[in-house]
Symmetry: C2
Subunit: 385 residues, 2 copies
Amino acid sequence: MPLSRRLLFRWELPEDFVVTPWDVKGQVDYDRLVTQFGTQRLTPDLLEQIRKIAGELHPMLRRGVFYSHRDLDWILREYGKGNRFALYTGRGPSSGIHIGHMLPWFFAKWLQEKFRAALYFQITDDEKFLFKDFDKLEEATKVGYDNILDIIAMGFDPKLTRIFLDTEYIRHLYPIAVEVAKRITFSTTQAVFGFENSNNIGEIFYTSIQAAPAFLPTAEAGHEVPILIPCGIDQDPHFRIARDVAPKLGYPKPALIHNKLLPSLLGPTGKMSASIPESSIFTTDTEAQAQKKIMNAFTGGRATVEEQRRLGANPYICSIFAQYNYIFEPDDRHLAEVERTCKNGERLCGDCKTELWGKVRTWLKAHHAAREKAKDRIDQFMLHD
Amino acid sequence: MPLSRRLLFRWELPEDFVVTPWDVKGQVDYDRLVTQFGTQRLTPDLLEQIRKIAGELHPMLRRGVFYSHRDLDWILREYGKGNRFALYTGRGPSSGIHIGHMLPWFFAKWLQEKFRAALYFQITDDEKFLFKDFDKLEEATKVGYDNILDIIAMGFDPKLTRIFLDTEYIRHLYPIAVEVAKRITFSTTQAVFGFENSNNIGEIFYTSIQAAPAFLPTAEAGHEVPILIPCGIDQDPHFRIARDVAPKLGYPKPALIHNKLLPSLLGPTGKMSASIPESSIFTTDTEAQAQKKIMNAFTGGRATVEEQRRLGANPYICSIFAQYNYIFEPDDRHLAEVERTCKNGERLCGDCKTELWGKVRTWLKAHHAAREKAKDRIDQFMLHD
C-alpha cells in the first residue's frame, strides 16, 4: 500500500508542514488536511451510527485517531440495507513493521469483528521491487511472507481474511488492473505521483495493480460490494485514482476512513519511520530493545523532578502519552487519570514509561508467540492463485 | 505479438517505402531493411547447417522467404552442443487470420518437427484490449480462443506446444514482466514506440508482457534455454527491447528469423491486411469467398490473351505466383515450370488461378476440418495457469 519515497508527488501545504504518502514533516494540522485533501470529518452522527451497529465505539474512534473519511456514510447506509462491505488494506514488504503501520490493522480487526467484514490484504512485492527497495523480486516476495506472519498474528478471522501477494495472485488482479490502466494516461500519473520520463514502466503501471483489490470483490460477486479502506491520512492520494476510475468501469468507489499518524518516540516533529529504529516499537524488537526505546522516548516532562512536581507536565506533546492514547490504554477513565496526574505533577515521566512498558511487554510477548504460531497457519489465510 | 497500429513508432526509410510493425507501404526493398534494421542475412553456410540437421531445407528457406536473422548462428551452435532451443511466437486476437499471418506458423511447425523444439504461443488479449481493438477485455479473450482453433489446426505437436492467453497465464509472465519493466523507462518507449503522455499506462507497460515469454523457458528450466522467434521482418522492432534488456536480467537474448511479407492479392503495393478481406485468404473464408478472391487477384498478365501468348507475362509482380512461391507449391521443379511457362506465354493467368484454387481448396477444406476438431483438443495445448 505505501508507495515508495521515490514517488515524487508533493502535496505541499502552505507554511510549516508537508504530508505525502512517504513524507510527513512538521507538526501536522489534521484539520487543515481535511480541507486540503477534500475529505470529510467523522461527525457525531456517523459515530453514533457505528456505535449502534457495533454496540460500542473503538477507542480510536472515541478519541479521534480515526477522524476523517470518504463515503463512510454510504458504507453504513449499504450495511443498513444488508449489503455488507469488505475491507481492503495492504503492506509493501519491508523488514520493519512498527506499531504505526499497525494502526489501520488494529482498526480493521475491530471492524471485521463488529461488521463481519471480509478483509482483503494485499502484499505488494512487485511494487517494492519496482520502486527499488529490493534488487531481486524474490527478496521482496520473501520479506512479504515474513510480514504475513505479523498480519496473521494480529488475530484476524481466517474465515474472513484473504491475504495475497501481488506476484502470486496476479491472475485475479491483472484483468482488473488492465481495465484500470486503460483509463489512466501517463499525464495523470505525472500529476498525481510526479512521475517523469525517467520512471520505469513498471512504476508507471503499478497504480493499476494497487487499485485492483478495491474492485475485485465486486468483480467476483457479480454485484456491487462496497469497499472500505482504513489507512493513514497520508495514504489518501493513492486511492484518488481508483475512486476516479471506478464509475467508468462500473465499480463502486472505494470508501476510506483515515487515521492520524502515530507520533514518533523521538518527538513531535515526524511520524514513525522504518528507517529509524528508535522512532517506534517494531514487531520483531526484543524485549530489551523495546524497553530501551520506551525508556529513552521523548516526553512532555520538565527539566527537573522538582519543577515537574510543582508545574506539571504536558501530555499533548508526549510520545508516551500518545502510545496510551492511540493503542495501549483502551480504558478512557484510566487515560483521563493519566492525563490529569501528568498535568498536575502527581505522575512523573518515569512512572508513565514503566507503566507503558508493562503494557507493551505484554503485547509484544503475545505478538511474538502469535507470530511463531502463524508459521503453521499461513495456508488458512492465503490466496495463492 | 503484432502491436497495434496505434503504436506510433515510425521506422521511416528514405524515399519510397515504409516498414513498421503495423504499416508496410510501397515496394519493400528487403535488402535495404537488413541494413536499416541491423539484422543479418541468412548465409549459404547457415542454410547448409540447417540442412544438415533437418535433412532438407524448408521451401521458404530455399526460396529466401525467410531471409534475415539475429543470432541464428548462436542458436545452431547451441543446438550442436545439445542445448535445444524453444520457439516463441504470438497472436493478437482478431477475427481475421489470413495466410500472411500464418507464414511464421508454417515455418515454426517445420522447425518444431525437425528440431524437436518446444513452441510457446502467446495470445495477447490484454494488448488488444489496451490498444483499443476491443471495448471489453472478455471480448478480446473470447476472440483469442477462436484464434486458438486456427493455431491448433496447424498441426503442431501437442507434446511440444504451449498456447496461453496473457490474462490466464499471467502468474507465470508477470514476475518476469516486472523484472523487464524495471529496466525500461518511459523515455525508451517514447523512442521505440513513439508513445506520448496521452498513452494509457497499460500500453506503456505492455512491452514487458510481450518480452516475458522469451525469458520464461530459461526462468522455468533454471538454465539458459535459447529462444528463436520466427516473425515477419516488420515485427523486428518489438524484440529489440527484449534483446537489450536480456543480458541485464541474466537471460539469453532471443534470436530471430525473419520472413518477407506475403504480397497482397490486390497487387504489389501493400501487405495483406485483416481490414481488407480481398487482400488475402482468411482461415474462415468459405470456399466461394476464397475462390472469388483468387479469381479476382492481381497478376503479372498482359492486356489480352493474344499479347500474353506472344510476349509472356511477369511472375515477379504476380500475387498468384507469390502464393505458389511462398506457400502452396513445395515442389521446386513444378514452381520453375510455372515460372518458365508464365514467362514464355504458354500458361495464362486463368490456368494459374485455377490450379492455385485447387491447392487452396484442398488446404482450406483440411484446415476447416482440423479447426472443427480443434474444439475438442484445446486442453491438449493450453497452459491455463
